[in-house]
């Protein structure tokens, strides 16, 4: 990282501040992460083969990625409705609800986990009604989705709100005056305007959900092949001091999640390039 232009900035302290930033980041993040990559690269290839052949691991991968994806997707729908109401149809008490949106972020995940579990077990306040229809949430894959939706909700809403505020009513009115129906107004005017925010919200929610551990361990019941997530498998390997196995699992998970996040960024970049004028 070489400073461009003159060597002598009006504000002294560049070297010190950048140096501190880099050293701090290196000591806490970069060195540990590269340690994992070195270890992952030096592992025996059979370990990786085992990951993709072990049905229990594969089931955990499927559950983790699928439920994170569903949770982030559900949050896009409900998050949009809540954000739209807060921005466009405010009612008394709205600011209270707005403040409460950050609750899943502020509440320790272990607390969320036991609270959601006791709500959704068969005898729980919500679970007993769902049980009538034969729907089981706690100790079932659905529970994982509920927990992940809960903890990732603020990310979607907080990304959407500023974007919705920025939409000028004039655009909608112009579309309506040109004869568009409410649904076509949404797809023609609103959706393109909030697409970047939706993608950002989705990727943040997805990333958060992928790594979530605290709330899931309580509600899922941690049943092998059924409700076990990857984080739990990794923790299990570590408890058995199977560091090689944990390394392989962690490396594959990180790689997969980085690639998914990167592709979301690329989609976003693709759209932003279309909108912004070339400079």
């Amino acid at each position: 990282m070489k400073k461009t232009g003159s060597q002598n900035h009006f504000l002294p302290g560049f070297g010190l501040s950048l140096g501190f930033t880099l050293v701090y980041l290196s000591l806490l993040v970069l060195v540990p992460l590269s340690l994992l990559s070195f270890r992952a690269l030096s592992l025996d290839g059979t370990l990786y083969r085992d990951i993709f052949q072990d049905p229990r691991t594969l089931a955990a991968f499927k559950l983790t990625f699928a439920s994170s994806f569903i949770a982030a997707g559900l949050n896009l729908i409900f998050g949009f409705i809540v954000a739209w109401t807060l921005v466009r149809f405010p009612f008394p008490g709205c600011s209270f609800i707005d403040a409460l949106i950050d609750l899943p972020f502020a509440l320790p995940t272990a607390v969320s986990g036991i609270a959601l579990t006791s709500l959704y077990v068969r005898s729980g306040m919500v679970g007993r009604y769902l049980d009538i229809f034969g729907i089981q949430v706690a100790f079932a894959p659905l529970g994982v989705v509920v927990a992940l939706s809960f903890i990732s909700l603020p990310f979607v809403i907080r990304s959407l709100q500023p974007a919705l505020k920025d939409i000028e009513r004039e655009y909608e009115e112009a579309a309506i005056s040109l004869g568009a129906s409410p649904i076509s107004v949404f797809f023609a005017v609103i959706f393109p305007a909030i697409r970047p925010a939706l993608l950002t919200g989705f990727s943040l929610a997805f990333a958060r959900a992928l790594g979530e551990y605290g709330s899931v361990v309580f509600i899922s019941g941690n049943m092998p092949m059924k409700t076990e997530i990857i984080s739990l498998l990794i923790a299990g390997r570590m408890e058995q001091f199977d560091y090689d196995g944990a390394t392989a699992l962690a490396a594959v998970t990180l790689l997969a999640s980085f690639m998914i996040l990167l592709s979301i960024h690329l989609i976003q970049w693709h759209y932003s390039r279309k909108i912004q004028p070339r400079s």
Partner: protein, 358 residues
Amino acid sequence: MSIEVQHISKCFGAFQALHDVSLRVEEGELMALLGPSGSGKTSLLRIIAGLDSPEAHPDAKVMMNNENMIHTRAGNRKVGFVFQHYALFRHMTVFDNIAFGMRMRPKKERPSKKEMKDRVEQLLNLIQLENMGNRYPMQLSGGQRQRVALARALAIEPKVLLLDEPFGALDARVREDLRKWLRRLHKEIQITSLFVTHDQEEALELADRIVVMNEGRIEQIGTPDEVFHQPRTEFVMQFLGSVNLFHGRIERGEAVFGPWKVPGLLGKCPEGTAARLFVRPYDITVQPDQQEYEGTIAFIRRIQSAGPHVKMELEPESGERVIVEISHERHATLKPRVGEKVLVSLRNARVFTEDYTI
């Protein structure tokens, strides 16, 4: 204190903002750096202030009172800098903004609370915002903010005042008033001042001398009269005031531009050299098409009589159209009509060829 810069260059990536610029501002002078945007005038001002540093060059110098300050920190140069968008500290009152520079001094040099208060009040008086000390920048109008920025710069008792587009962000009317006020203020405090502007009127009205800049180079330095009436380059001629431009070439010692001919170039320029002729719209004489007058025949295509002068667009029998400005009195006696034939002659025309100027 005088300012002198020598051999100053500045690059931003591949873009060269300044090409080996040298310049001297005399003690007590009010000088304008005039040029279009991207001409390097702000870069030069920032380098003088120490907010940017020039490219390394063995002879590069930024001198104040003949002392090289190129390695001196901005804060130690005794320079008052007024920013284009004022850069007032938004969380501080007007009083605190003005006192800031004094408060930042090392303890030994710091004036006492009483001295500071007196000084700030004196400055508030100077900028005529006596009762505004407790206001925040947000609560001030653009013109008031500009004056606070000036007072803040003056509070450190600078030896030199540098102003970056001081009136750039203001309404036309406020801008004119502040211009007059600044002129009087400068007369009052006699501080060596250098200001950047892209507004020729501002430069012509305010400055003792004007530096015309273009593409990182100095085109001309001179009094407003000199740069306006004796422009040394085509750029200066075109940048200051409106001008008619004709393209032509040298033929048998004469510069020929369609119907216009400028003699006296015999032996000075090779045949066929491309030449350009510049003439100000008010340096064109228009006469009725009668025997006693001389000139080139042209037809009136448009007349616009609103404004301080009457503007006419004339089309000669051959060649490019000309814009002419005449006074309303002349318009009244001449009584021109659109489509009418008139005789046109040029005064004070200036011819530029590749390497020669008349």
